[in-house]
């Protein structure tokens, strides 16, 4: 590979790549971790086989995630941007043939509510999105830096290296970019504080320790477009005056680690990383630190101690990492998504960026939309879009009447009820409603979800993941979980609700780090908006959603039961009795309420009913 010494050479290199690109059609196959899990690699093999004879007309690209998880494995045909969803290996030939014929494979295009959509931008899932960060994923082979450069990559870096660091910080401040890791602190201010610290040695860390269950936007960016993050890191490091930096990534993201490692190697070979980048005199090294899977290590101070090789526990601030961070040096930590925004801002200008979003929250945010929606996936929306638009227009909630709430911000986020879906998505509104922006998990829940059980579930996650250093978080989350478990198992008392509220507010107030300070959110928000469900569990011992196993029993409706015997066959406890062709029944004393009979019954004959629970 040639080595680039000036920005002029980079530009020439880009022109050369573009000139070498023949005008052939390209098939982008979504091969992120999510796509691979649904067989994208097999589909890719089939495509390679099918297109073998037509190498002059068709090129195949294995890209990162396209965002539309529901449609995995999917492919996009460029330049027309034709979208094919849920492909199987045998579909490859049909698609290739349609490309050669200049046609569209009708059977494989995306359909929703009887309408069919051919192009990416027409599909409701993509229509309202603004994919300024994730939009390039389908165009880029993550392990080929030339693809990234062809898309205008490292242009922003070259531009930034000609400016003064103070100028870059000013630009980021005026763009109004705020940390995407959850807390929403102004990124430019953070850089300014780190830059203003005394001493020559400063560090930059990219926080890719994405631990929230159900959130994977950082993974998708790292897997799909690692060079974007590297470019952001170079600009950030230049602005704060750091020559050493780390990517702290979870070991559970093997593909992300692999792609970032490859990207760092290629950037180094091209002279875009290392000593004297593009003749600017600025040096930067990027190392990779792998996290061992503790949720709390996503917290800045815990992350620092983890890189130092110690037990990953938070430290009391102040001193802030910007003053006394990694190995005692001023350290700046930014989230993956925050860093991904940097090249975009430098490239397109602060004014352009500040024009997107609301007064206080600028730019876009990627959410992982999951739960009771038709279109699950990663959605990148401008700040200020309403929750309703995200959940109903993009997500296509299955039944608008039954949607109960949306849980935002991961395990320490809160539940927002449907009455508040008019709220705009920005830092202040979400915090005001008792949730947090967090890393951007969005779980849509319908009437079959028990809110007490949801609070219990997330609190359980937190009591296991609390580092245990500070008493109020460690004991508090355990006690919250204990009380919530009591309530879901029919042992709740009315005074428990007041205790939960008191306990929650103290945990929020007095905890050391962000984990504890947000830990009561799931409980407090459900208690505020769904108090009636708590009361029903405590007073009537009823779980309306039929989720809390201790409060329900499974019964077979003799009128509906056809006697097919499927439930009996599948019951692990031999709790179903009866003879074929006659209605079956369930022996309650043997039943462990695993719900298998309920799931397998094809005639809806198995029902959940609230049972009488004696007061404990």
């Amino acid at each position: 590979m040639v080595k680039l010494f000036t920005s002029g050479q980079l530009e020439k290199f880009r022109q050369k790549i573009l000139a070498n690109k023949p005008g052939k059609r390209s098939i982008s196959i979504s091969c992120g971790t999510c796509g691979q899990a649904r067989g994208a690699l097999k589909v890719a093999e089939a495509f390679k086989e099918a297109a073998k004879a037509h190498k002059d007309k068709i090129s195949i690209k294995l890209t990162g995630c396209h965002g539309f998880c529901e449609a995995e494995p999917n492919v996009i045909i460029f330049p027309e941007e034709i979208f094919y969803r849920n492909l199987k290996p045998e579909d490859a030939e049909i698609v290739v043939k349609s490309i050669l014929d200049g046609d569209i494979a009708d059977g494989l295009i995306y359909r929703e509510n009887g309408n069919s959509f051919i192009h990416v931008h027409e599909i409701p899932f993509y229509k309202k999105q603004m994919r300024i960060l994730s939009g390039k994923n389908p165009l880029i082979d993550p392990v080929n830096i030339e693809d990234y450069i062809a898309q205008g990559g490292y242009k922003a870096m070259a531009k930034a290296l000609c400016k003064k660091p103070e100028g870059i910080i000013e630009e980021i401040i005026s763009a109004g970019l705020r940390g995407r890791g959850g807390a929403g602190f102004s990124t430019g201010r953070k850089w300014e504080i780190t830059r203003s610290q005394k001493g020559d040695i400063k560090y930059l860390i990219c926080n890719a320790d994405e631990g929230d269950p159900g959130a994977y936007m950082d993974r998708s960016l790292l897997e799909g477009n690692p060079n974007l993050i590297i470019e952001g890191m170079i600009i950030a490091a230049y602005a704060i005056g750091a020559n050493e930096s780390w990517v702290y990534v979870r070991n559970e993201y093997p593909l992300a680690v692999e792609n970032v490692t490859a990207a760092i190697k290629q950037a180094r070979e091209l002279g875009l990383l290392g000593e004297d980048i593009l003749g600017s005199g600025f040096d930067l090294n990027i190392k990779i630190a792998k996290g061992a899977g503790a949720f709390v290590c996503g917290e800045e101070t815990a992350l620092i101690t983890s890189i130092e090789g110690k037990r990953g526990i938070p430290k009391q601030r102040p001193p802030f990492p910007a003053q006394y961070g990694l190995f005692g040096k001023p350290t700046n930590i930014n989230n993956v998504e925050t860093l991904a925004n940097i090249p975009v801002i430098i490239d397109k200008g602060a004014d352009w960026f500040a024009g997107i979003g609301t007064k206080t929250s600028k730019g876009t945010k990627i959410f992982s939309l999951v739960g009771n929606v038709r279109n699950t996936g990663l959605v990148e929306v401008p700040m200020g879009i309403t929750l309703r638009e995200v959940i109903f227009d993009i997500g296509g909630a299955l039944n608008s009447e039954t949607v109960k709430a949306v849980q935002i911000g991961g395990p320490s986020g809160g539940c927002i009820p449907q009455e508040l879906f008019h709220l705009p998505v920005d830092y202040e509104s979400l915090t005001g409603a008792g949730a947090i922006m967090g890393s951007g998990g969005m779980i849509v829940m319908d009437e079959n979800t028990c809110m007490v059980d949801i609070a219990r579930y997330f609190t359980n996650f937190l009591q296991e993941e609390s580092c245990g250093k500070c008493s109020i978080c460690r004991e508090g989350t355990q006690r919250m979980h204990e009380i919530l478990t009591d309530i879901t198992e029919g042992r709740g008392k009315e005074e428990d609700l007041d205790l939960l509220k008191d306990l929650g507010s103290v945990i929020k107030d007095a905890s050391m780090c962000g984990l504890g300070q947000t830990a009561p959110n799931p409980m407090l928000s459900t208690l505020e908006y769904f108090r009636n469900e708590y009361i029903a569990h405590i007073k009537e011992k009823r779980c309306h959603a039929g989720i809390c196993k201790a409060l329900i029993q499974y019964l077979i409706d003799p009128k509906k039961c056809t006697g097919c015997g499927l439930c009996k066959k599948n019951c692990p406890q031999q709790a179903v009795e009866g003879e074929p062709k006659k209605p079956y029944s369930i022996l309650q004393e043997k039943c462990i309420k695993c719900g298998v009979c309920y799931d397998v019954c094809k005639f809806n004959a198995v029902g959940k009913e609230n049972r009488e629970v004696k007061n404990a």
């Binding site: 503790a294 709390v296 037990r311 526990i313 430290k315 009391q316 102040p318 937190l462 009591q463 296991e464 993941e465 609390s466 580092c467 245990g468 250093k469 500070c470 008493s471 109020i472 460690r474 004991e475 508090g476 989350t477 355990q478 006690r479 204990e482 005074e495 205790l499 008191d502 306990l503 103290v506 107030d509 007095a510 905890s511 050391m512």
Partner: protein, 233 residues
Amino acid sequence: MPKITIDGIDFDAPKGWTILDTAKFLGLEIPTLCYNEGLTVWGGCRLCIVEIGIGEQSKIVTSCTYLAEEGLIVRTATKRIIEARKMILELLISQCPTSKILQDMAAKMGLNQVRFKPKWEDCIYCGQCVRMCEEQMMAKAIGFANRGNKLKITTPFNVASEECRRCGGCMYICPACTLRCEGPKPENVLCGRCYNELQPTCLDSFDNYSCWMGLKGECGTCEREEAEKKKGV
């Protein structure tokens, strides 16, 4: 020297002093548990929290870690602080009701209810023993293992460590293993609360009638012992 206001007292705190140092110097009482002058600060027990700033901007910080800075306004005993401390202590006491230090603290703070089920554990994970072992005894024989609800303090791989010299420093400093006296109601999570009546409480050893306060019967220990003696006879 940074000028700070602490509970309404203006004071020039020497450089490097924490809020806790300043408060102690001024005789303002802030309860502490995981803090020890001879060890590095930990900030884990959260009992030494104070409120800094005023109005909407005020926030809670641990006084043992927060350095006095110019213009800082500190309040050590606001309603918000007292309630939070009580809740923290309630959690700790329900975890380890046998600790004398916690019981005394509860009596002093006026904590008169424990709404959580007692766990009767022996450790409150204040980490003093770990720091003692590492910083004063230079042994590093024990440390934290696991996290969250599985947290524990142990030797590496739970086997007897060669690093341990059996110096007993960990036991010496442990606030949880000093047993509380039984008091009149031994079965309760909270003890007899003698603290407010006769200070200091629970003297290590005492004769029946040589209570240092010259009292007889308030805490009940002497009377009970006498009764037991009679029974024995």
